[in-house]
Symmetry: C2
Subunit: 125 residues, 2 copies
């Protein structure tokens, strides 16, 4: 188990994208504010148990999105221009989480339904 990829559960995607999405979530929700520093590439890598290159890949994606600014030796920080999801939306998400949790729903189901309903919006070009 020292080499090669590992598939675990359905709805796992890929290490790099997982890390990417994780930070996207933290930034978009405001839990990681502008200027705040992200862990070292090597740090996150060893935290999650992936290769350094994999974490680096995630960071590059974040930078490509303009969510993060990276200066060598100074680490990676949340960009000032990083967009945060409007509070109204975040609140709705909180409501949804609360409701789904009390009912004991599967978060994956919730997300799947979200996607389906999203695609069914009035104006779907």
């Amino acid at each position: 188990m020292t080499t090669g990829p590992a598939t675990e559960s359905v709805d796992e995607s890929s290490p790099a994208l997982d890390i990417y999405r994780q930070f996207r979530g933290l930034i978009a929700s405001g839990q990681l504010g502008a200027g705040e520093r992200l862990p070292t590439v090597r740090q996150t890598a060893s935290d999650i148990g992936v290769a350094a290159g994999t974490a680096a890949k995630a960071y590059k994606l974040l930078e490509r999105d303009g969510l993060v600014v990276t200066r060598t030796a100074a680490g990676t920080r949340v960009a000032d221009s990083a967009a945060v999801l409007p509070a109204s939306v975040v609140r709705r998400i909180r409501d949804l989480v609360t409701e789904a949790d009390t009912i004991g729903a599967n978060p994956a189901d919730v997300i799947d339904v979200f996607r389906v309903i999203w695609q069914a919006r009035p104006n779907t070009p």
Copy 2:
């Protein structure tokens, strides 16, 4: 370019899982009711442009979840026991979609934030 996998956009995962999630969403949201028939494996395969085996894989996952019943030559139908997400949750999802859409938010962001907030629930073992 006739063979091998294809990566397109970030947040694409894998063909098989995409199909799987798609139908999960349709079933969990009630848009695909118990007894209703799913398209042929070959049909969905050619619709989406993937190999038949890939669509078959997705169907097997659905069956593994008990969401679907498959009888040879009779096709695949939504199981009677297929659980539908409670209306209260679905309604909140609708509200969320509406709000996020009017604001012009990126659905991927919404999902990422959902995941983050979900993990931050009170009781997260």
